[in-house]
Subunit: 217 residues, 2 copies
DNA sequence: AATTAGTTCGAACGATCGTTCGAAATTGCC
DNA sequence: GGCAATTTCGAACGATCGTTCGAACTAATT
């Protein structure tokens, strides 16, 4: 019995000297996660079989189970890592920026940049949001809630700074809709890059929310 | 062999005297489609088994195959009917309205009203957009393209009427994102009704797109 | 009542699903 | 080289998948 609980051991003191040494185990696991993400993206979580994942990653069917104990846990690992990374990146980018509108624009840019740079992972995150059962689901839901909360706070800041009046909930969910829907249509050969799309979507959303005169209440 | 190609016979001269007589066959098929929609909504197309559908609809597993020849065809029937209905409803509502902004608002209201009134069907339509294979997929894609095209035309009209400049493609896809994302969050016990949401989303989107001064180009 | 057409079902088909297990292969260490 | 720990794999498990088939049931027609 190699490890009591696979894919749980905390990557053995990673980043000791900045240039990520990382265990052989960790590297192999990351490879598998990457391939699995691609397959889940293409065929969906339910539609992808463990044998599909085996073929794509070049490892035997049984070999996969050395790295995680179930298909569901694999999805969980992908979702948790993806979501954690995007939240962490956002926090770093927001540091030191105080202008409310600028902060919202950073949120949008961060989201879209990561989305387009990791399209497969983000599609799996968006599209398979309900695939996990109770235990795994709640952990991912917690990160999601944190991310949602950050966006709510950004918009509330903007509201109070400019004395605006709109439903924060509806605004946040509309913004997420605009951004997340991108996995259904974005074509790198036709559409602009993340920065351009972020600017245009930011224009639409911010102008839409930052009511300049007209409309009394 | 009852019928050469099940679920294809054109519902035997329906609507002869307005009050939809409809064959026994047609009524039963519609019932099954309703139950199947619910199951696909809850468990996803791949995640739902024919035995799930059998249980939910109260008909034996084999009995289902009297009404359609495959699980995929069942999904096709649901998607095609749902999409056709929403397009048809939209066309009716747009008749006689000439103001460009009003027409866009009708589009939004029609979409959201149908979405919330037929949440399960619309989720299956949005979420399982890639589940169909070549043959079935292209037919649904054709209706989707028509619907998309209508929205593009509405926005182009608005653009030329007011001399605006924005990417129609991005605007349309952002709008669809805002609206379609609703299946991930709408809670009838918390959120407002379709008309209110349509108004608020319409405000955000239209104000965002109808640039009033500022920003030279 | 008898005959036909339309509808439903139990039972089974082969295929594929996620997962397990013990043995083989590989690696890191002395 | 030899030994132990780590990593990989072939083969199989029972369960469940979508689908089929012929018999049984019900409804409509004569």
């Amino acid at each position: 019995m190699a490890t009591a609980s696979t894919a749980t051991r905390v990557s053995a003191r990673r980043a000791r000297a900045a240039h990520v040494p990382a265990t052989r185990y960790d590297r192999r696991l990351a490879e598998i996660l990457t391939h699995a993400t691609e397959v889940f993206c293409k065929k969906g979580y339910e539609g992808a079989s463990m044998r599909d994942l085996s073929r794509e990653s070049g490892m035997s069917l049984a070999g996969l189970y050395y790295y995680f104990e179930s298909k569901e846990r694999l999805l969980y690992l992908i979702q948790k890592h993806t979501f954690s990374t995007i939240v962490q990146r956002l926090k770093t980018r927001l540091e030191g920026v105080s202008d409310a509108e600028e902060r919202v624009r950073i949120f949008i840019l961060n989201h879209l940049e990561y989305f387009l740079a990791n399209q497969a992972a983000m599609k799996v995150l968006s599209h398979e949001a309900e695939a996990l059962k109770n235990g795994f689901a709640s952990e991912v839901a917690a990160i999601k809630r944190e991310y949602y909360r950050i966006c709510v706070d950004l918009l509330d800041d903007l509201k109070s700074e400019r004395g605006l009046q709109f439903s924060t909930r509806l605004a946040v969910l509309s913004l997420f809709g605009m951004m997340n829907w991108i996995y259904t249509w974005h074509n790198p050969r036709v559409d602009a890059d993340a920065a351009s799309i972020a600017r245009e979507m930011g224009d639409i959303f911010l102008r839409g929310v930052v009511d300049n005169k007209r409309r009394g209440r």
